[in-house]
């Protein structure tokens, strides 16, 4: 069996299966936990409806740091947006990627010019490298970083770099680069539910709960 055949076949199937299994497992396990509520009495005038609203507000409000922290968190925030938006453009805007989704889910949408996606890919790559360097040189961040952080970065970085190498035909024959690219995506999918990449699903819940708790105590998020 050729490497590309293996990557497009068994490897991708196993990865997708682990991804679906893991994501459902973690979401169900989390959402089926008992909600104990907040034992303390809510601040005067705070109703459950307001708490819920504050939860949704928290999801949106936390997209930008508080004014007091803007200066300190400016690079992390902006750089985070660059590679998150970049990744979204690459994953959902590149024609061959859309075909991958179409094959799986039967739906497709208009694609962006490949050259534009390549340019975004280079920008995203630079942004990811900057994120790693920042994590390594910033003492507090380095202190709280674990294997989970670095490996999650690696499995995100690898598909971008291998995808760019494949599109530029650099380093090896195209079919080898394409196979390595697909295998790197398989690794990403397998790691996704069990590492910090799961924040893609969990960020809304964590921000929402924070918003509810803050409102309960009378603080505006």
């Amino acid at each position: 069996m050729e490497l590309l055949e293996f990557a497009r076949g068994p490897a991708m199937n196993v990865a997708m299966t682990v991804f679906i299994f893991g994501v459902v497992w973690r979401l169900v396990a989390l959402l089926a936990l008992p909600y104990r509520g907040i034992k303390s009495r809510p601040r005067e005038g705070v109703t459950p409806e307001r708490e819920i609203f504050s939860g949704f507000r928290g999801v949106v409000r936390r997209m930008w740091p508080y004014p007091a922290f803007v200066k300190a968190a400016l690079f992390s925030t902006l750089n985070g947006y660059v590679f998150h938006i970049g990744l979204a453009i690459i994953v959902f805007g590149f024609g061959p990627h859309i075909l991958f989704f179409k094959n799986l889910f039967g739906i497709s949408w208009a694609n962006l010019p490949n050259n534009l996606v390549y340019a975004v890919g280079v920008l995203t790559l630079g942004s990811l490298v900057a994120a790693l360097v920042h994590r390594l040189v910033d003492p507090p961040k380095r202190l709280i970083s674990t294997f989970n952080d670095y490996f999650s970065w690696f499995v995100t970085f690898a598909p971008v770099v291998t995808g760019l190498l494949a599109s530029a035909h650099l380093g090896a024959r195209y079919e080898t680069l394409l196979a390595v690219h697909i295998l790197s995506i398989a690794l990403f999918l397998i790691w996704f539910p069990f590492g910090k990449l799961m924040h893609s699903f969990l960020f809304a819940f964590s921000r929402g709960v924070t918003g509810i708790r803050m409102k309960h105590r009378g603080a505006q998020i």
């Binding site: 076949g9 991708m12 679906i20 299994f21 169900v28 799986l104 010019p113």
Partner: protein, 359 residues
């Protein structure tokens, strides 16, 4: 004129002008990506060379490779190559049959011992002692081994000979294998394609005649001059790929406007061949130019690469039931985890309450 006369004399006698001869040498040098100075080397070498004995063996094949070689258009370079070589054995082209044909093969082997080239098209069945394909009472396997024993080199023409091709496709009932699986002790060149480009066959043979050695090969044993780049690299539709303009069906506006056929399953990005540059039928066209995606026919196992109309970036198998089972399993395990956590939480709270009471 005897076959021992130099080729230059023979061709002159047959009315092939010096100019036509030099044009052929220049063309060969060009398609083999050799420097311009090689033209004279090729011309001189061919002019003084003796006709090269070639034994052409056809095994599990469809004769498409021979059709490709013989049904070429003007300029009839392929006709010219028949002047350069002495085709001593070829099922389709030889007039004789039966014992006379086999005697011709044996005679060529004896007369040109260690010098003749064996060209093979078709794969060789090895299952059940190779009984699935026989010629003159011999299995293909026996005939190949017997003929190649005293050959100078072996040229596997077509994907069947080079990589097993369609007979080798799943489930491969005859145990078909490529020539390279059997012949290990001779120089071997693969000229793959279904069929291969005529110029790739003639150019490679001309190179061997001119330089007395085999050309530079890729990791699959193919001449780099013809198989060094992908169809995609040289495709005239490539700019549409870069712009993200893809035909969605074979008769939509994009297809009519010559947009990229990637979404329709074109295998050009992983197919190494010279179709996009040399083209077919005298440089008229090639499959993509005719509106159909490349099948990747010059690549190993092209028949089993997941479907001709399935884009390269898609997974080979749909998830279907597997996805549903994975989701259901995830939900069951997740619910179990949550129930365990609930019980743990309840026990913990109960312990706390008990301790409070004790205090």
């Amino acid at each position: 004129m005897s076959d021992d006369a130099p080729l230059g004399d023979m061709l002159a006698k047959r009315g092939v002008s010096r100019r036509a001869f030099l044009k052929y040498a220049a063309y060969t040098a060009s398609i083999m990506a050799l420097p311009a100075t090689s033209t004279n080397v090729i011309a001189q070498a061919l002019a003084t060379a003796k006709r090269q004995s070639v034994i052409w063996l056809s095994f599990q094949e469809c004769t498409g490779c021979t059709e490709s070689l013989t049904r070429s258009f003007s300029p009839t370079l392929e006709d010219l190559i028949f002047d350069f070589i002495s085709l001593d054995y070829h099922h389709t082209l030889q007039a004789v049959s039966g014992d006379a044909a086999e005697n011709a093969r044996h005679a060529a082997m004896v007369e040109n011992k260690g010098k003749y080239i064996v060209v093979v098209d078709g794969s060789v069945p090895i299952k059940d002692d190779g009984v699935y394909s026989t010629i003159a009472g011999m299995t293909n396997l026996d005939m190949l081994n017997e003929t190649v024993k005293d050959a100078f080199a072996v040229v596997s023409v077509g994907t069947c000979a080079a990589f097993g091709g369609i007979p080798h496709a799943k489930p491969n009932p005859t145990g078909a294998v490529a020539i390279s699986e059997i012949i290990k002790d001779k120089p071997l060149i693969n000229i793959s394609g279904c069929p291969p480009i005529p110029e790739a066959i003639t150019g490679t043979l001309s190179y061997i005649l001119s330089f007395g050695k085999i050309p530079e090969l890729d990791h699959l044993g193919r001449p780099k001059a013809f198989f060094g780049e992908t169809i995609h690299d040289r495709c005239y539709r490539r700019p549409f790929y870069e712009r993200g303009m893809f035909a969605k069906s074979f008769d939509d506006e994009g297809a009519r406007n010559g947009w990229c056929l990637y979404e329709l399953g074109c295998k050009g990005p992983v197919a190494y061949n010279a179709c996009a540059t040399l083209k077919w039928n005298g440089g008229t066209s090639f499959p993509i130019q005719s509106g159909h995606g490349c099948l990747g026919c010059s690549e190993p196992d092209f028949w089993d690469m997941g479907g001709f109309y399935k884009p390269l970036s898609t997974s080979l198998d749909g998830l279907g039931k597997t996805a549903a089972i994975a989701a259901a399993a995830g939900a069951v395990i997740g619910t179990g985890s949550a129930l365990l956590a609930r019980r743990h939480q309840e026990n913990y709270l109960k312990d706390l309450a008990d301790k409070d009471e004790e205090i």
